[in-house]
Symmetry: C2
Subunit: 300 residues, 2 copies
């Protein structure tokens, strides 16, 4: 029975999948993100989390990607540069104390001409490309740092990152707008109107942010309206900067269900085609693919 472990170790979350005979038989998800782990405690943390999956009489292979391979992580896995093919992704093998495991941490990708970096998203992209052969178009991975990625002939040609999710987070929680945007839901029509307002007049952006607060003080339309506007304005400045990726193009969205649904709703009429995938599915498929490649490399 073939058994291995896929690890998606990001800044704030740790996710591991036990794969047996090509199927996920167990999953672990915790808040032990890279930023909460001290640099000399990565092996210890990993072992404590996956201990129940290990046997003393065999070596279990672990494949990991994400911020765990950054400078602030376990050990730096140097970036590979764009344009690049994900079938040749590099990895490092940190020295381990425990002889029940072997470990590969895969590289992130960097771009020098228009400086940019990713770690973790390349695995999701590999997962998608592995099952959608000959996709030419753009992949959008919405989130804390949204990424737009151009794919041609199975290569990442270029990409751009936007601080959309992080700006939403810090503006909602740390600015004067905290009093106006605390809502559960989004009003989709207000969202769309707000996106289009800034797409048409980008110069309104900074004043529009303060207007949320002023409008609330004067007209009190309720937090759902103001949260929808804030989301719309921030999404619009992302779309303004990524227009070369989506205009009249085939688009793939990879992310969590809420975010990809929101992006699909807004982009639907602006793009040629649009499909959604779950990031957790794509990470696993990506690491599975990296595993196949690493086996084939051994046999060469």
């Amino acid at each position: 029975m073939e058994k291995w472990i896929a690890v998606d170790w990001g800044t704030s979350t740790f996710r591991a999948y036990l794969v047996q005979n090509n199927k996920v038989s167990d999953t672990i998800e915790t808040k032990d993100g890279m930023k909460f782990v001290k640099s000399h405690l990565f092996e210890q943390t990993l072992l404590s989390l996956i201990d129940r999956w290990l046997n003393d009489d065999e070596i279990t292979e672990i494949l990991a990607s994400g911020m765990v391979g950054s400078k602030q992580g376990w050990e730096e896995a140097p970036y590979q540069q764009t344009p690049c093919n994900l079938k040749k992704l590099n990895y490092i093998t940190p020295t381990l104390k425990d002889n029940r495991i072997s470990l590969k941490i895969f590289s992130g990708i960097s771009q020098t001409h228009q400086p940019d970096v990713m770690r973790g998203e390349e695995t999701q992209i590999a997962g998608f490309l592995n099952e959608t052969l000959n996709f030419n178009g753009s992949i959008c991975l919405p989130g804390t740092h949204s990424k737009w990625v151009e794919i041609r002939n199975n290569n990442i040609i270029k990409f751009k990152t936007f601080m959309t999710g992080e700006l939403f987070e810090i503006i909602s929680k740390n600015s004067v707008l905290i009093h106006s945007v605390e809502a559960e839901k989004i009003d989709k029509m207000e969202l769309l109107k707000s996106v289009d307002k800034i797409l048409q007049k980008p110069e309104l952006f900074s004043n529009a942010l303060f207007q949320l607060r002023a409008d609330d003080l004067i007209n009190s339309k309720g937090p759902t309206i103001y949260k929808s506007r804030l989301s719309g304005y921030l999404l619009a400045i992302e779309l303004l900067g990524s227009v070369e990726f989506w205009e009249n193009n085939d688009i793939v969205l990879i992310g969590n269900p809420d975010l990809t649904e929101m992006y699909q709703f807004v982009l639907n009429k602006k793009v040629k085609s649009i499909k959604k995938f779950l990031s957790s599915d794509m990470v696993l498929k990506g690491l599975k693919n990296f595993k196949k490649i690493s086996i084939s490399l051994k046999h060469e």
Copy 2:
């Protein structure tokens, strides 16, 4: 001997000036901003701060403006609406327990068509208008919430607020850029280049923010460069939204010395004329002016 107290009570700072025979004879500045004072403790806080200026055998008049007159402050002083003349600014007189003082809190100004609000800045503007007769042009008050104000015939015609200072603060302190922008100084040429980059291509804004981090990871140009870029990008989106106020116009900057110098440096070649004033001077002159008016109203 005529004696009164001018109070500039903002969100995070309390400033009071003892005025005797039209001259400031003592000053108090503390961190007892409006947001740190419980609603029923405003009188107590004020008295404890200015106690040394009061006598038992006379009533000392206090004139205050700023966020102390907001909903979250001592008592709400309703907004006056644009267009408005600062010679007719309203005030409220909260009920007091201590009979050694009398108190007026002046109104803020609101705008309904393009929702906006100010509290405190109107006093600085009144101070400036009182000594610069017949100014027609725009006043910019850079800061946490930068304001651009159009003045015609001694009236505030309209104004726009931008979250420039607050965005700088929360992006520097709460986002991934925290690792890249912690510097003391600004590189003026880098600042100017960054302003012009976004003025020419606003669509680059959101990606340019993340590029600061990526460029730092790849090229490590040092925090002064990245802080200057962040300042420049944020100032640019303010200038994009306020172009109707400054293009080919006479500009007055009211603020702290560092900020007004930075705005002057960036705007110098883009406007018709530009002058700088200190906000603390203008608040005091504004309250002095309100005091004169309130005397003349009593005599009518």
